[in-house]
Amino acid sequence: MTDKSSTKKFAGTNSAAPSGDGRIEISNVTKIYDPGGVNVCAVSDCSFDIEAGEFCVVVGPSGCGKTTLLNAIAGFHSISDGEIRLDGDVLCSATKMAEPGADRMVVFQNGALFPWCTVLKNVMYGPSVQGRMTSHQARAAALDILRELGLSEIGDAYPNEISSGMRRRVEIARALINDPKALLLDEPFRALDALTKGVAQEFLLQAYDRMKKTVFFITHDLEEALFLGTKVVIMTTRPCRVRKMITVDLPRPRTYKVRSSKRYLELKREVFDAVHEEALKAFKAGERELA
């Protein structure tokens, strides 16, 4: 176990895969939605950087535009102003929409494993469609990664046959096999019950400790943010802007025990204070809209 955690890549991943540092720079990003002439400003002049290999967690009130930011990086949405760079190259700007690609893997809120493919076929999907492995190699690589992540027993099952916690893990495996520069996760554990969530979080942490990918993780759950993240970015109520950044200096590898440490509780207090104020603002704004 210990010697493996020092290697950066999984045994199965191909070194020819798009690998790099994975530094993401978000500079003055603004996104205005325009449904029927009513301008809705989802993100306003938002800037922050995510260092290569950093686990960055973005928290903020519902509907504050966190997902908009993630979708812009992933290449599903355009932005109205500003730019986002990946390792210095412009990913998207006011005039250019990012192209979705395997260097930025997305794990979705409700999960998006293909129900018609077995777990193994789902994990093989990326390498085989990208044409960087033969189907035989892709199969071997998928089996490797499933074994390393302790999922080899469910390779032949369909996604509907396994629990939702398992599905999230498989989805993370499906993303990691592509050796992406960054992993984009949009509230991946939201629908899980508390116990399953804890296990899934530890699973993600183990995978992160081994691979040290840049992670962009969105959540509502402040405890989750502190438990997982190296940096927690707290967003303001819509329009989305950075309110506060907190460096979580808890040692890694982390286990559930970290949650009862003194430092964790201090950080928790700091984050709760900042977020509570924003939540109140969001609540009052909601009241104003209703009035």
């Binding site: 930025r104 979705f108 999960g111 998006a112 293909f114 999907y125």
Partner: protein, 266 residues
Amino acid sequence: MKSPNSSSLKKLFNKIFSKAVLRGIVAIVFSIAFWETASRFAFPLFAFVPPPSIVLSVVGESFGSLVFWENWTSSFGRVIFGFVIAQIIGIPLGLLMANNRNIHGMTFPIFEILRPIPPLAWVPASIIFWPTTELSIAFVIFLGAFFTIVINVLGGAKSIDARYIRAARSLGSNRSDMFFRIILPAVLPSIFTGMAVGMGITWEVVVAAEMIAGKSGLGYYTWESYVGGNFPRIIVGMISIGLAGYISSSMIRLIGKRSTPWLRLF
């Protein structure tokens, strides 16, 4: 541990003689007994209905005649011919309509005007239009299956969850991967629903078309029996049609189950 063979046999046995199947058998036996009594004692409306015992004797006679089986094969041939062509044209058209706004815009209004016209209303026009009766019957059958499959494929393709498309794009799919590995499997359940419904419609249509214009087939056989005043044979014809329809939809269901193994898990 038991040998897998004996346990699977036991499973099969339990499946065949399950309570649901037994209930079905009991219901059929009771219906036949009621029919026999009703015909024998000339209940109101049943005065001219031959009892099952007499029908059964005709069944034996029909089964022995080659002409009877030719009626089966000619109806089946027509149904399969019209149905298969409807799938060959209908499935790609439904997919194109779902994926291309221009094609959808051009075809959808025409499609929606033609769709409510019952296939049988096409029979006169079809006879005038096509050079042979056989082709005009095949065309009417085609229409019966065609609209159903197009509507189902269109609906299925339009309701594909955007998450799958996004995930597939992130994973690096090109256009052909997107079509063959994502859209097609996602639409497959709708295709089989459309096929099952369409198959039912084709049997309704073929029988009626044969009654109007046919020279052979189970519909023709039933109608001829009526014209010739052979009442037991009418019932043999009717039950044959029912069985033929049941066999066809069972085939579709079987192929559908085989092709969509992930759906058995719901």
